[in-house]
């Protein structure tokens, strides 16, 4: 397909000539004259622009997802069905999520409300609303400055999981997303969505300067904040093999384009440390688009998934036309925002190995605000304790402490062979100051980062005394859950 083609509120739209880095939000407001969807921040931090997209999940089943349209580029909805707030009212009747929100007085100024409404719409069509904490996780991506959230929470509780027989239910049952494959050119900009690896290698041979994109939750900021016009983007979204998410050799294979939502759902039953990080990774709308590979390849110093995956001993599996190579994930990060990927290569999978007997593992994310924030410090810890109670192996990985996610090698070395006791932990804490020299920025001072890095290890020890991989409590005051 060489044209943009998608369904907007169930009507087929075909466009050509538009920049491929036009966001769905700007398209809706400027071209489709659907002004219900609001721009609050243009960076995925407020949710006012939330729309619902009917697409395929990792297993190919149709799902309705709440997504920030400000970070969604038009080619990313190729073949999909996009619904805006204007689609909710049917035959002059308001949808039950609209009635619920209005009845609770869940809007005051109303500017965040279209986005809140669309997040509620996803909630109302979700099948997995079995636990109350999921309400907060569902709605934390929508900032509201007026209500104080109590009525929004109440409205969410009222509609979550109701699954009414509305136009969305009909679309879920009756329509099928069309192929995403695309080779699109507009002016100096091009956008490719290859459907096979073979087609991808061909694109890369022809355009070695191409940049990969999947969810766009990071890359789109260059468009919306720095007003860049990337000349050539290659989306990996249509490559099904990269969405692999399955048990493998006692561990797990996680495909690079697995979304954080999928990872969270999967790891909840299978890998508690990963689930704990996934829970607070970002807002629902972000997690519905952000991918494992995107988070790792951006190689941010914080890289929320990196510390936990490193601590679990994960390996990066890199593909190119020439074949496959593997490396320890910590070696994937070579410097500040630089990875070990060479031209023509892509990160395909992350393989998480089976955890050894006696392993204790947790991941932590500390940020100024619990939900919807970037970490000041993140960490993934795994220690393997033998039957004599001695530390056989320690993997202490941190984000936010240096130019790249990294292990605390001095502290790890000092811990090995020691009894797993509070005294041993206290003894190695000063070594963290040798392992890291954190920076001061608007997320936290060097003092705070250094102090929290130590305290997380203290907390890890206490948290894993009775349970090797404790789960998150439903409601808790802090990242570290110790009395």
């Amino acid at each position: 397909m060489d044209r943009l083609r998608f369904y907007l509120n169930d009507r087929l739209v075909e466009e050509s000539g538009l920049s491929p880095t036009t966001t769905v939000l700007r398209y809706l407001r400027d071209r489709a004259h659907l002004t219900g969807t609001k721009e609050g921040c243009a960076e995925g931090d407020c949710g006012a622009c939330t729309v619902a997209v009917l697409e395929e999940d990792g297993k190919g089943a149709p799902v309705l997802r709440a997504i920030n349209s400000c970070l969604l580029l038009l080619p990313m909805v190729q073949g999909k069905r996009v619904y805006t707030v204007e689609a909710l009212k049917e035959g002059g009747r308001y949808h039950l999520v609209q009635e619920a929100l209005a009845r609770e007085l869940g809007s005051q100024c109303g500017y965040c409300t279209p986005g809140v409404t669309m997040a509620l719409l996803e909630a109302c069509h979700r099948e997995d609303f079995n636990e109350p904490w999921k309400l907060d996780a569902q709605m934390c991506g929508n900032l509201c400055r007026c209500t104080g959230y109590r009525p929004i929470r109440d409205a969410a509780a009222r509609v979550a999981g109701l699954r009414p027989a509305d136009r969305f239910a009909r679309a879920l049952a009756e329509t099928k997303p069309e192929p995403m494959e695309l080779a699109y050119t507009a002016g100096p900009q091009r956008f490719f969505t290859p459907a096979t690896l073979e087609a991808l290698w061909d694109v890369l041979d022809a355009h070695p300067e191409a940049r990969f994109v999947v969810g766009g939750t990071d890359l789109s900021l260059e468009v919306t904040k720095r007003f860049a016009e990337p000349p050539l983007l290659v989306s990996l979204e249509a490559l099904r093999v990269l969405r692999t998410l399955e048990p493998r050799a006692g561990g797990h294979r996680v495909g690079a384009t697995v979304t954080l939502t999928e990872l969270e759902d999967y790891s909840r039953a299978t890998c508690p440390p990963l689930e704990r990080m996934a829970r607070y990774f970002g807002a629902r709308q972000i997690k519905n688009r952000a991918t494992v590979g995107g988070n790792l390849c951006t190689a941010s110093p914080i890289g929320d998934l990196a510390p936990v995956l490193i601590s679990l001993g994960a390996e990066a599996v890199v593909l190119s036309r020439a074949g496959e190579r593997r490396m320890a994930l910590e070696d994937f990060f070579v410097d500040y925002r630089r990875t070990a990927l060479r031209r023509g290569e892509l990160l395909a999978f992350v393989d998480v190995p089976a955890q050894p007997a006696g392993a204790r593992a947790i991941a932590y994310k500390v940020s100024k605000r619990r939900e919807l924030d970037i970490s000041s410090v993140s960490a993934g810890f795994r220690v393997v304790v033998d039957e004599q109670g001695r530390v056989r192996e320690a993997r202490l990985a941190y984000g936010g402490m240096s130019a790249r996610p990294a292990r605390a090698s001095r502290a790890e070395a000092a811990l090995v062979g020691q009894p797993w006791t509070e005294a041993s932990v206290e003894a190695v804490l000063p070594l963290l100051d040798e392992d890291f020299t954190p920076r001061t920025d608007h997320r936290g001072s060097d003092w705070y980062r250094a102090q929290v890095a130590k305290n997380l290890l203290r907390g890890f020890f206490l948290e894993t005394l009775s349970e090797p991989a404790p789960r998150l409590q439903e409601r808790h005051a802090a990242t570290v859950q110790v009395r």
Binding site: L34, Y94, L105, C144, G148, H476
Partner: protein, 791 residues
Amino acid sequence: MVAILSEVAPRESDVKSPLHAPALHESGLKHTSGEALYVDDLPLLPGTLVGHVIASPHAHARVVRKEARRALALPGVHAVLFAQDIPGVNDVCPVRGVHDEPLLAVDEVHCVGQSVALVVAESAALCRQAAALVEVEYEALPACLSIREALEQGSFLPHWLYPGPHLIRRGEPEAALLAAPVRIQGECMTGAQDHFYLETQASLAVMEEDGAVRLWSSTQHPSEVQEKVAEVLGLGRHQVTVEVPRMGGAFGGKETQAAPFAALAALGARATRRPVKVWLNRDQDMEQTGKRHPFWARYEAGFFEDGRLLALKAELVSDGGWSNDLSHAILDRALFHMDNAYFLPNVEVSGRVARTNQPSNTAFRGFGGPQGMFVVEEVLNRAAERLGLDPAEVRRLNYYHEPSEHRTHYGQLVEGNRLPRIHAELMASSEYARRRAEIDAFNAASRWTKRGIGYQPVKFGISFTTSFLNQAGALVVIYGDGTVQLNHGGTEMGQGLHTKMRAVCAHALGVPAEHVRVMTTATDKVPNTSATAASSGSDLNGQAVKAACEVLRERLRLVAAHLLQVDRAEAQGIVFAGGRVSHPAYPHRSLTFAELTHAAYQAQVSLSATGYYRTPDIGYDRKMGQGKPFHYFAFGGAVVEVEVSGLTGEHRVRRVDILHDVGSSLVPTIDRGQVEGGFIQGLGWLTCEEVLIDAKGRLLTHSPDTYKIPALGDAPEDFRVQLLERAPQDSTIHGSKAVGEPPFMLAIGAVTALRHAVAAFGPPRTEVQLASPATPEAILRAVEAARSVKR
């Protein structure tokens, strides 16, 4: 099924009066469907251009050269406007007689983000391209970036009439301090806060005939926008019409600071003869507009051993930014609220406004009240910690007495003090004493997680302290079918003012609320209005609406008397209710409101009327520091429980109980929303919202990526809000009280609760050192300090 209020066709019904009854937000369903229109959503006229502000990149600099030739050469660029292109007055200062805020910089810039030029082009992208080609050359000058630097350099914004500090004094504070058994002294700071209204600043200007201009502006103060646009363009105000469809939040940030962007849109429209829209993106909005004033305070207080406050001396300095804006009125309100709920027998408070090279700080919910109140609450918390007393008890001991015998430090009698009642009811309903004991037991058994509980009373003065602003107008129009258009001077920013005004109007005319349509606020309907601010929107406009409706009702009464065949003498007994007009003495004779209005029209009776209101008997003498600035006081109380991690400094609010006094609520569901929303916004100011600048005065926190307002997970798990029952207020609209700002300060209870939790990391009577905002880092520092206190 939810009633679709604004959409159903008028029909007669026996509905009860909408007054004092729960109701949905008048625009609620429109909000949920995207049908509610904001300035940026209005359909554009063909040819509408985009206005883009070029802002100063320097905190302080001389402007050496301005050159736009290359930008103007770009096809599609219609104008690049500088100060010299302003036909009228290059000033938008909101204070009459003070001209310290040029719309566009002339030869000097005073903060990063100050407007220097306006680019007008056919698209936003083209504007950015053109802006990059506009050459403005600067010569950097030394900048003053904080209150501390301003104090060192003696940099102040003196009051235009009274250049000295604003000083309020009573008794003999110096002697009382010397005699006090317990003395506490210190300094404290409260931080800036971005308004973070979800809808950024937006204005659309369209030229009309005869050089007139019509604007749609997201502003709390359409009359001031009208005035500033007229002055900037050199027009009479009769040539400028300003309309406000609604705002997507404002919180004070659109009281004065919408006007410059409206004036720029008007300037662009005049220069190009095309419609021009100026809309700021989030980063521009945060960088170019002022915030809540940071305040620094130095205090000294004396107490008796039992916790009674004997004396307080305090000096406040606010960060006004580079120009006056409303800084002095905000400072006044801070000083007026230094007492909060407490009788200060010996007191001296004084305040000054620092001038810094920051965007001009401005109105924000509470308007200085929170900053002043924070100081006295800090003093009381420290006293409670020092003396080993329950901080709630220290507060109770110091309340103004009821029945009223005490005057405030500025001489106003504290009448109708409801705090003793609120205190007793809230302590009981929240089970404060039992929970405090349980928390102490929890803390004794928990090493790294501690809990705390805090109580916060609030007394807040209601009225604009600039007395003449306390006036309002309304225009009520009835049509022959009995439907009503209501125009009033207030603006809707989400607070539910239109919902309340519709209830007042429908009640007065005895018609269903659905028959009353509240019109967008417009200066050609109701002129010479005050800002919708100071929590006064319902108080002032409600009275004006009521007055207008009463005029109409009296006119209609005479027509009704004729139709109902009752004597003129009996006409006063005619009742307007439920969409019908009748007389209780003749129950079989009644007519519908529509029949009556149709008859009135045929009888050549005017069916439109204006109403007007001014608040009586208020005034303040600044020179003497004495007077009655407030019509009345609003009261409230909150009990807040938190849990703190001693490992990360994170905290969570576990439970909040609020009992708030809104008099006889006009619409209780709306008032509850104001209480809940105000509290959470206050919580943001005191905990997670941190405005940071770099060494060159550039804002680091210019988007929600780095500036964190509370999210859904930060709202209390258990949030119990009650409005005080059986509490009508004298001489207000239907016995109600203002509600917009007072609940904001209830959140200070969270600070008291955090201090309780932090202190538990130290030995008994640990004095807590907790900075504001109480971010995880600030809390962890306080925990570390508490842990290091010697046992």
